[in-house]
């Protein structure tokens, strides 16, 4: 309930501030009211789970833009009220201007209000994000694979132990064909069924022949300093992941991190705290709960669990050795909605190009502002006290003329006193 009260109060303040901005005669007052309005909107952002944007709003809008406004207002001395006389009175029909404007805006408000009242906000449906797929190659007999999704070559030469990028596919069924890059023989053919919002890893394992295991990763948001770990047991017997507690393997501190992962299966993800560990090892599951003195199948040396990441550990048999070997696959988990992390995540992956473009726009604006605000050198302003002066702004042409070093430009753009430019 408090939310509603908050909303109503802040909303009212926002509307009143906007109205005062429009009405007030003093431009500085208007600017300050606008800042108040911006602050209210920032509060709204906070209520809308957009903390990052709220901060950006305050910093950019209230802190930069409005400051700029105030600077210019002070510079130009425009705080005085507008004169009553408007030259627009000469235009026929100009008396209607204000009434017409009000009328139109009321129509607009009415239209939007009706639209909202129809409760058809949802009529634009969101289909959800498209699924992502990646393929990882753990086949010994085909150290390089060509991946063909729907008969098109998507990944070429996928090496052993590596995974491809996350490929965005449409939801539904897709055929996956794996071809040995060197011999050209088809290693595996299978069908992938994908749903929206899924991030799927397709793991290809096997010593002599390929086995495909698909695994939809759980990338839900983790609490702080936490990691999600799951184990893919590609060996022939059940294993457990044991934390021995210390590098030197004291039996008393050991505990099973993940217990009883059956052969050729993936364990359910568990959440552990992030950090480093030197004492993880794989043991056979039959060794029981604590696995005292169990022979380690594989020692994970210097395991590092990064927070906000889902770690998939793949344990496969080796062809030339009896012990298995483990490989990592890590994926970033989702962030809290609206957090800077989340925004950053999506900004630097999906919207990287627009980001750069916007940067260029800012650069262009910077240059443009510098050029525009250059003062001209001549003494035109000494004479420029008359109101109805028909001159094209000098600085621009002089600057450009100086840059281009073209006398024709300088003479072409200049008009003499009293001479009317073409088109008048």
């Amino acid at each position: 309930m408090t939310e509603v009260y908050l909303f109503v109060a802040v909303g009212t303040i926002a509307v009143i501030a906007a109205m005062m901005m429009l009405i007030s005669e003093n431009a500085v007052h208007s600017a300050l009211f606008l800042i108040l309005n911006f602050a209210c909107v920032a509060f709204m952002y906070l209520m809308l789970d957009a903390p990052f944007l709220a901060m950006v709003q305050i910093a950019v809008y209230a802190g930069a833009i409005m400051v700029l406004f105030l600077f210019v207002i002070m510079l130009l001395g425009a705080e005085s009220s507008e004169s009553r006389l408007s030259s627009m009175k000469a235009v026929p029909g100009s008396r209607l201007h204000t009434p017409v404007a009000v009328l139109l805006t009321m129509i607009l408000l009415l239209t939007v209000g009706i639209a909202i009242a129809q409760e058809n906000v949802d009529f634009i449906e969101d289909d959800g994000a498209e699924p992502l797929v990646r393929v990882a190659n753990y086949t010994y007999f085909a150290p390089r694979l060509n991946v063909l999704l729907d008969a098109t070559l998507t990944v070429e030469g996928l090496q052993f132990g590596k995974s491809s990028e996350h490929l965005r596919l449409t939801a539904g069924e897709h055929t996956l064909t794996l071809v040995d890059a060197e011999t050209g023989a088809i290693v595996l053919e299978s069908t992938l069924t994908l749903e929206a919002d899924q991030t799927v890893s397709a793991l290809v394992t096997g010593i002599d022949e390929a086995t495909l295991t698909t695994f939809a990763e759980d990338l839900t948001q983790l609490a702080d300093n936490q990691t999600r770990v799951s184990i893919f047991n590609a060996t022939g017997e059940a294993v457990s992941l044991q934390d021995t507690g210390s590098p030197f393997g004291s039996k008393d501190d050991s505990r099973l991190v993940v217990a009883d992962v059956p052969a050729n299966s993936i364990s359910t993800p568990i959440v552990v705290s992030s950090g480093e560990s030197d004492s993880l090892r794989f043991i056979a599951a039959e060794n029981g709960a604590l696995g005292e003195d169990a022979a380690s199948l594989f020692n994970i040396v210097e395991a590092e669990f990064v927070r906000d990441t889902h770690h998939l550990i793949v344990l496969t048999d080796q062809p030339n050795a009896s012990e298995p070997f483990a490989y990592y696959l890590a994926t970033d988990t989702a962030q809290q909605f609206g957090s800077p992390k989340a925004v950053g995540q999506i900004l630097f992956t999906k919207y990287l190009l627009p980001l750069q473009v916007v940067g260029l726009v800012l650069l262009a604006a910077l240059v443009g502002v510098i050029v525009l605000s250059q003062r001209q050198v001549s003494t035109v302003e000494v004479r420029a006290r008359r109101p109805e002066r028909r001159r094209v702004s000098r600085p621009l042409t002089s600057v450009i003329a100086n840059q281009v070093e073209d006398s024709a430009g300088a003479s072409g753009g200049r008009l003499q006193a009293g001479e009317k430019p073409a088109g008048d």
Binding site: M44, V72, E82, P354, V361, S373
Partner: protein, 100 residues
């Protein structure tokens, strides 16, 4: 739990007020500020819908809008300054040379 529609309504009201300001006021800086108000209203709408559909694309768009608005404000104010230098006034009704 505030409904998304409320936010959108608020955004519409702010937008309309901004429009009024653009149309009625003659001070160029006031007009500019009204434009900023309109942009803000639109941003509010974006964020509301982003939350409604749990899609961060809305936030991104707001981010870009803010950036571009900043650039635009800078350039626009520089223009206003330049015009002021030549006309000693920022009444937009004085700028009617390009008339037919």
């Amino acid at each position: 739990m505030v409904q998304t529609e409320a936010f959108v309504m608020l955004s519409a009201v702010l937008f309309v007020m901004g429009t009024l300001g653009v149309l009625v006021r003659r001070n160029a800086i006031l007009v500019f500020m009204s434009v900023e108000l309109m942009l803000n209203a639109a941003n509010l709408s974006f964020v509301a819908f982003a939350k409604h559909w749990q899609n961060l694309d809305g936030h991104l768009f707001v981010f870009f809008v803010m950036t571009v608005a900043a650039a635009e404000v800078a350039v626009g104010l520089a223009l206003i300054v330049t015009i002021f230098r030549s006309k000693q006034s920022i009444d937009i009704d004085e700028l009617h040379q390009m008339e037919g």
